[in-house]
Symmetry: C2
Subunit: 392 residues, 2 copies
Amino acid sequence: MYRPQNLRLPGPTFVPQAVLQASARPMINHRGPEFAALLAAVTRALQDFLQTRNDVLLLTASGTGGLEAAIVNVLSAGDKVLAFNNGAFGERWAAMAKAYGLDVRRVDVPLGRAIEPELVRDELRKEGPNGARAVLLTHNETSVGVLNPLREIAPIIRESGKLFLVDSVSGAGAVELDIDGWGIDVCVTASQKAWGAPPGLSMVTVGERAWKATERATLPRYYFDFQKAKASLEKGATPWTPAVTVVIALQEALRLMSEEGLEGIIQRHVDLARATRRGVQALGLGLFSDENYASPTVTAVRSPARVDSRNLARVLRDEYDVVVAGGQGKLEGQIFRLGHMGFVTISDITSMLGALELALRRFNVTAEPGTAITAALRAFAAEPVVAGARRG
Amino acid sequence: MYRPQNLRLPGPTFVPQAVLQASARPMINHRGPEFAALLAAVTRALQDFLQTRNDVLLLTASGTGGLEAAIVNVLSAGDKVLAFNNGAFGERWAAMAKAYGLDVRRVDVPLGRAIEPELVRDELRKEGPNGARAVLLTHNETSVGVLNPLREIAPIIRESGKLFLVDSVSGAGAVELDIDGWGIDVCVTASQKAWGAPPGLSMVTVGERAWKATERATLPRYYFDFQKAKASLEKGATPWTPAVTVVIALQEALRLMSEEGLEGIIQRHVDLARATRRGVQALGLGLFSDENYASPTVTAVRSPARVDSRNLARVLRDEYDVVVAGGQGKLEGQIFRLGHMGFVTISDITSMLGALELALRRFNVTAEPGTAITAALRAFAAEPVVAGARRG
């Protein structure tokens, strides 16, 4: 029997039919006026959603490519960088910086915990004026479902005068992110996350301080060169052939997002994340991470005792067509991660939770049918918690 | 009135409806069994078309990204490389090598001429055993419509023992290319060229000598790291989120290509290229490049005296919906380039030539109506010239 999948990954996320259809439009010239108009429109819409007047560059690459671009364009070999890390993606970014010969001081936070403002303040104090030239910070750590409190951290980094590079690959477009207000110099996101488009594009904002930094940065670069991208953008193009169909899809996704509006999108993610957490907790499952910093886009759940989360994910996929993510690295088998990022409704969440109830029975973890769904609906219907004020 | 475009660019090329539709399938998990099966099937089909048992890596990037990957994975800063150059893409690759701190000796051939075996032999002789570690060579130089005679050049480079890196971005899948037989260590192509899929993927073959070279190569790399790509490929995945919809599209395009078969595809390109050349010549226009090495995938044509080719291209596009490419760099305004790469039929060529006749009238270049089309059809119907034996 044909059954559509409920793609509950933290990326690639569900792509609406209208967006997929848009991506199937006939191919166009990437150096012609149609593409120039498309690029201008997408760039403008992204600036709105990212709350920035900075340049937004479209790179044909995954988010990881965008993170590499952030490093190679503003830094030089031997530069000291301070990399805050509370999960696999923070780790990856730090590893990348090391691969490029940067002098990386990594500050690790236990998995499941957030990077808190006090820590950032203390670590920056240790650096002093001859210390790190840049701070690398993951906004939404997808591997553990933690949203680091960037609103509180940003002014501390800004005050230090250091370059402020942010990985918001899985946050931007779904959670509060005030690039200009918070003074973020380079911010990286990707098409297949909250934006609900297919993968293939990384969108990178570049501010004035970052542009200045590109002038003295000597790390080798060509494909990811920001200056080349900007020079082309001014002529309505990209320096190299872009993923045209993904750009077209992204335009349609942004149009759908505009109908809802950024505020509504942010609130919906908060509400769906709360519903998800209450649902899994009602089944007796534990949240992996500090709920004070629970990510609105992905929830990490501890697998029940003696249940390998890979097996649970397999049953969910093969028997119930619900696709969830497992744990990464040390957390493999220990946790599973539920994505509620992008074009997601409460129906997607209840459908997922119903499947989870049934799948758990296969591992002798039973609950009264409807337990998770009821809890989720109750949480969803409750007085909405205002987005961005989760710590109150 | 709705009029479909006749996309006669040397990339992105026309994407068949079936391929576009495939790319609009629902999003899938890039770490699940469906994607693993897809990746394995695409890799196998690419190995067949590229006549290689080498690894084929899919990088989410344009062809330029693939060319960068070729450099950073097998070379180290200061390494000498010999870069043969007969156009904008050869120039770009050499510039990229320089940007990565390589010691590049560029051998320039006048625009419109091929890189001939004798030249390669002479230049390699100058290098000697302590000379260049690698040779960079563009197979099909898109900017001038020249196919360099790789069959004759390959044994010379192979004999030298140097790493043999080939840009066949706009050649592979349409012209003769025997990666294993010719001993090519790294060969780069891209989805939006002869493969008829949307842009977003670069496909790179990596042979044994190249794998050995990755072990001592010290250029910094992360996103484009071949070893990471191979480790993931062995687990049926890519290290970073791939352009999933483009991979699905590429699978469908490869299926369509299999129906025709590589030999048929190669012959068709030779025949369509010949028809194109005869068509434009019948209008009194000159070919820009040495016809002995005419590219089967793109033809560069001199714009008539006092006609800026940009204006001609604009009339073709705006009035006849035929999209052609202009000249690059020094050739801007001087030439226009007609793409006949990928899923192209003789109807696409005659339709383009009819439009060209009409458009030229706007610039007071007139011919008896039907002149170009007649010449093209005559050339197409004539005893076919066997592909790969164009010099006889």
